[in-house]
Symmetry: C2
Subunit: 286 residues, 2 copies
């Protein structure tokens, strides 16, 4: 049971955690803060949070557990601000997509409270954002990765794990670098690929017509290009190394396919497509 939960950033991710814990009956009071007053108000009116705080200081001063669900670019300033106001034994966790960057920033600004900080990443989301997009079942049967470091307090880690389990999520521990590589492969790179395709089509004079002839496959493929541009800018900037490495590998693969098409080399095309189809069909459950 969490007595007082503070959520910094009451959008899809933060708001859904609040709703899930309320639904599970494992939180007494949720205070939410957003930099934008209208967003705080909306979250309160929708019942996503119980109280809307006017400042980070207000939001966290009595909190036992603090969840930071802000864009990666805001992480440092938010952690620095809350570090000055949290209770000594408060637990701090986050939902940032690139853990290397978050851990670096947290170590720098949290001081001796860094031990109470549990880096985390709920692997769930939709292409929508804001408090109105939040729902209690977002994390149900999804995975949450925690990336504790040597300094991380084991009790804090256990409490954060238990919190996420109460949302219906499966919780795993992973080391920071491995997390960032895995997420670059399955989330960051696909988003870049989809943004690049839809952005390219948007430049065409016949864009409207082209999109009119798109079938279901394109709809699914391009859905993630509807994700928040600022959030994804920040992810690209903060998980730079892992993304660049995979992007290079991806481009090598694309060059190979391009050459195969140029040379009418059907065998190469078939073998690459078969390998992909086999992996998608056998190693990946819907």
């Amino acid at each position: 049971m969490i007595k007082r939960l503070a959520i910094i950033g009451v959008g899809l991710i933060g708001g859904s955690l609040s709703l899930a814990l309320k639904k599970a009956g494992v939180v007494s009071e949720v205070t939410g803060y957003s930099r934008t007053p209208s967003v705080r108000k909306e979250a309160l009116q929708l019942g996503v949070i119980d109280h809307a705080a006017a400042s980070i200081a207000d939001a966290v001063k009595d909190a036992d557990m603090i969840f930071v669900a802000v864009p990666m670019a805001a992480m440092e300033i938010v952690l620095a601000e809350l570090a000055e106001h949290v209770k000594a034994d408060a637990i701090i966790t986050d939902g940032g997509s690139a853990k290397g960057q978050v851990v670096d920033v947290a170590k720098k600004v949290l001081g001796d409270k860094f031990r109470q900080f549990v880096p985390g990443h709920p692997i769930a989301g939709t292409e929508k954002s804001g408090p109105s997009a939040a729902f209690a079942e977002l994390y149900q049967d999804h995975r949450v990765v925690l990336t504790p470091v040597a300094e991380t307090n084991v009790d804090a880690l256990a409490k954060v794990r238990s919190m996420w389990q109460n949302t219906g999520a499966e919780v795993f521990d992973m080391n920071v670098e491995h997390h960032d590589d895995v997420l670059a492969a399955t989330s960051h790179l696909p988003h870049i690929l989809a943004f690049n395709l839809v952005g390219m089509l948007a430049e065409r004079d016949d864009c409207d017509e082209v999109l009119r002839y798109a079938a279901g496959g394109f709809k699914d493929f391009s859905r993630i290009a509807s994700s928040d541009a600022v959030m994804w800018r920040d992810i690209c900037l903060t998980n730079k190394d892992a993304i660049l490495e995979l992007l290079k590998e991806y481009q090598n693969g694309l060059n190979q396919l391009q050459q195969a098409i140029e040379n009418q080399d059907g065998d190469t095309l078939k073998s690459v497509f078969e390998r992909a189809k086999k992996a998608r069909d056998t190693r990946f459950s819907e």
Copy 2:
């Protein structure tokens, strides 16, 4: 009303046309042929077709309308074979994804029956294949593009248009080159991109683990990598020029994003992502 319809290739595309026309009550008899005897038998047992023919000659000899739904690589041999056996006034149409290639081949092998040939492309499908994947509603509210050429008989065109309208599809005419460009952009290129990503992940030692951490966005994005490898090999080979041009443009875009990430140039990333999001949100309805 079509008296005798022959379907060459009784998989998802051919089988679904048969089921849709039967459901609409606008076809009296459907004869199907597949190169593979077990597939013909399956289509018959599932009620996808009324008769299974043992040869193309048998399938088409009494047919008023013939729909060729075979892989692009088989198009020439199938059209050449049926040209020798069709009735003089039979109408021939197809479902091939690259119309330039189909028109070239049809002109070459159909002789004076080329006038009775209406090149077509139903823009619908799933990642599944075979007669068991066929269903009557596949074309409902989807688009079918017909790409008539100068020689195409107008009555034949009208009858093929009417047939597709009876499946619940919207039917449009387009010129051959424009069709191939539009489809390369919205279908062929996305498939190549998805195959390339999933194929690359399949090579990783930690592939199983990686896919375990993939969220919903990846599932949607990679679904098309589960499509038939041979069919997509053939599409790449037969729509070569349009695909290569777009692939080059895509790679230029990817290089731009790569450089922006390297240079920590958030403005470029944000503007590309925003352009894509805006196009996906406003110009493309789910």
